[in-house]
């Protein structure tokens, strides 16, 4: 496969700014274009990752950003895949480049979020499982994260102290990231003293919702050469696979798993399958990675991801954590950006932000949080309703 490269990366800092999402997206897009050394009018394709909490403009994010930047005649697409929206947007853009239909594409995601836990979209909607799980069970997002966390404790002996250590690690990394919302280091005692939200998870174990924007400029390797970009970061894989039936992990927002009565469970559960597809496409394996950005919606979930990525055997992620292997300076740093623990989640921007971090780490310009000698980075997350998202980038 011919190469698609990342020419530019840009972000609007995460926070709770209270501005329209379009402003964050445009700020990120302009930053990415400056980074790429390109003009907006050079862009021939724009993909927007949708936000469903900001009305019609959020549903047609590609058009919204293109109009805000000033119509330039470029083709556009908008896509929604929950937390995986950014990866899907990236996949659409790189596919168009690979097909030879354009040379330069801009991928943008931004969100403006209300306070508090995610609540379902309003109205009386008994046909929507996302509405029903709140109505019937009061099952919030943290409740699902807590089910996974409790199961780790029961199966592998993980402790609340282990979960707190993930937060301490990520907060330390995030303190060195100018785009992170939370820049303060924390202690395990502070995490363990924060109020329980969904037993065993406490407030500081769970990621917040944030405002933010992120953008990437993709180009064909041929265009990059003509443009004079020396050794740009290369997209080695984009995995957007769906689960295989029967899915045996209780997934947000479902009431139940699939039944294994007729078909045995797949070889790999969904999260591991997302990573596997990325490794296959890049012809790389877990031992090749210099670092990983994983979707730590909760501290405990980071440990699940570490195992899903094959960085250690199932059940041994806490051992890696305790040994310092996943910290900055460790054998395989996980979430050198500070992760969601330091950012909070801005849904359509988050997967793009992960790739911004890959880009900066692989260029060696990540400053105090730089992973020494980073050559290969992987970002991974999972969107509601079966959306896989994993990107491998190489220097």
């Amino acid at each position: 496969m011919s190469d698609v490269v990342i020419l530019g990366a840009g972000m609007h800092p995460w926070g709770k700014w209270g501005r329209p999402f379009v402003e964050y997206g445009v700020a990120a897009a302009r930053a990415a274009l400056r980074d790429a050394g390109l003009e907006w009018t050079d862009v021939r394709f724009v993909v927007g990752a949708d936000t469903i909490r900001n009305g019609y403009p959020g549903f047609v994010a590609g058009a919204t950003f293109a109009q805000a930047m000033g119509w330039n005649g470029a083709r556009i697409a908008s896509c929604y895949a929950a937390c995986a929206s950014g990866a899907q947007a990236l996949d659409i853009a790189r596919t168009r480049i690979l097909a030879g239909l354009c040379d330069v594409a801009l991928v943008v995601g931004a969100d403006s979020t209300p306070k508090g836990f995610f609540a379902p979209v309003g109205g009386d909607r008994p046909d929507d499982p996302d509405w029903l799980r709140f109505r019937l069970l009061g099952a919030t997002n943290p409740a699902y994260f807590a089910l996974y966390a409790r199961r780790r404790m029961a199966l592998y002996g993980d402790t609340a102290e282990d979960f707190a250590a993930v937060k301490v690690k990520n907060a330390l990394a995030g303190s060195a990231n100018e785009n992170a919302r939370y820049r303060k280091t924390v202690t395990a005692a502070q995490v363990l003293a924060s109020p329980l939200v969904a037993d065993p998870l406490r407030l500081m174990d769970i990621c917040a919702t944030s405002d933010g924007g992120a953008a990437l400029v993709l180009a064909s390797a041929e265009f990059a050469r003509r443009h004079g970009a020396s050794r740009p970061v290369r997209l080695a894989a984009v995995s957007t696979v769906t689960p295989s039936f029967p899915s045996t992990v209780l997934e947000l927002p479902d009431f139940a798993t699939d039944s294994t009565a007729a078909v045995p469970p797949p070889e790999r559960p969904f999260r591991a399958a997302i990573a596997h597809a990325a490794y296959e496409e890049a012809a790389l394996g877990p031992d090749d990675l210099s670092f990983a950005e994983v979707y730590d919606l909760s501290t405990a979930l980071e440990l699940d991801w570490v195992e899903d990525l094959g960085l250690c055997a199932r059940g041994e992620a806490a051992k890696l954590l305790r040994a310092g292997d996943t910290a900055l300076g460790g054998r395989i740093p996980v979430n050198p950006s500070g992760g969601l623990a330091s950012f909070g989640e801005a849904v359509p921007a988050q997967a793009i932000a992960q790739v911004c971090e890959l880009t900066w780490q692989l260029r060696g310009v990540a400053g105090a949080r730089q992973v020494e000698g980073a050559r290969i980075g992987l970002a991974i997350n999972q969107g509601l309703f079966g959306h896989g998202s994993s990107i491998i980038a190489t220097s």
Binding site: F134, R135, L136, L137, R151, A198, P246, L250, A261, A262
Partner: protein
């Protein structure tokens, strides 16, 4: 009985609660919530999905609670009592079903322990399925005479 919060997902028959799923006539895959129309097994073309009562007992896959009142459309009691949730793996079906837990807190629960289906009211009245201690329903019913 009090109106169920949703039709066709569970029933109470002679004081005993049953979750209602559907089963594909071709491949025997079981679904909850009940699915009709077509089977979701990618290797099966089945379109005949008949209602089936699911096993009433299972083992706890995991559990948690909501320490803060969940947002609408959940209706919270006043004062708020934390909702306890358990995901229970039903015997013989390979299916894990999430539900509120009745009369038990997270301190009473363990992964792998057995629970039994029962029902209980939401704060605004309608009934929903819940997981409870095995035999708890029967005990309460017998409680009046013992």
């Amino acid at each position: 009985m009090t109106a169920p919060v949703i039709n066709g997902w569970f029933t109470v028959d002679g004081g005993t609660a049953h979750l209602l799923g559907t089963r594909c006539a071709d491949c025997r895959t079981v679904y909850f919530p009940p699915r009709t129309g077509f089977c979701r097994n990618p290797y099966c073309d089945g379109e005949d999905l008949a209602e089936t009562r699911l096993p009433r007992r299972g083992t706890v896959w995991s559990y948690t609670n909501s320490c803060y009142p969940p947002p609408a459309p959940f209706v919270t009691a006043d004062p708020y009592v934390p909702v306890t949730l358990a995901a229970v793996e039903l015997a013989g079906t390979g299916i894990v079903v999430l539900g509120q837990v009745k009369d038990l807190t997270v301190d009473d629960l363990r992964v792998g322990m057995e629970l039994e289906l029962t029902t209980g009211p939401l704060a605004d009245g309608p009934l929903v399925w819940m997981w409870g201690a095995p035999g708890a329903t029967a005990e309460r019913q017998n409680g009046e005479s013992s």
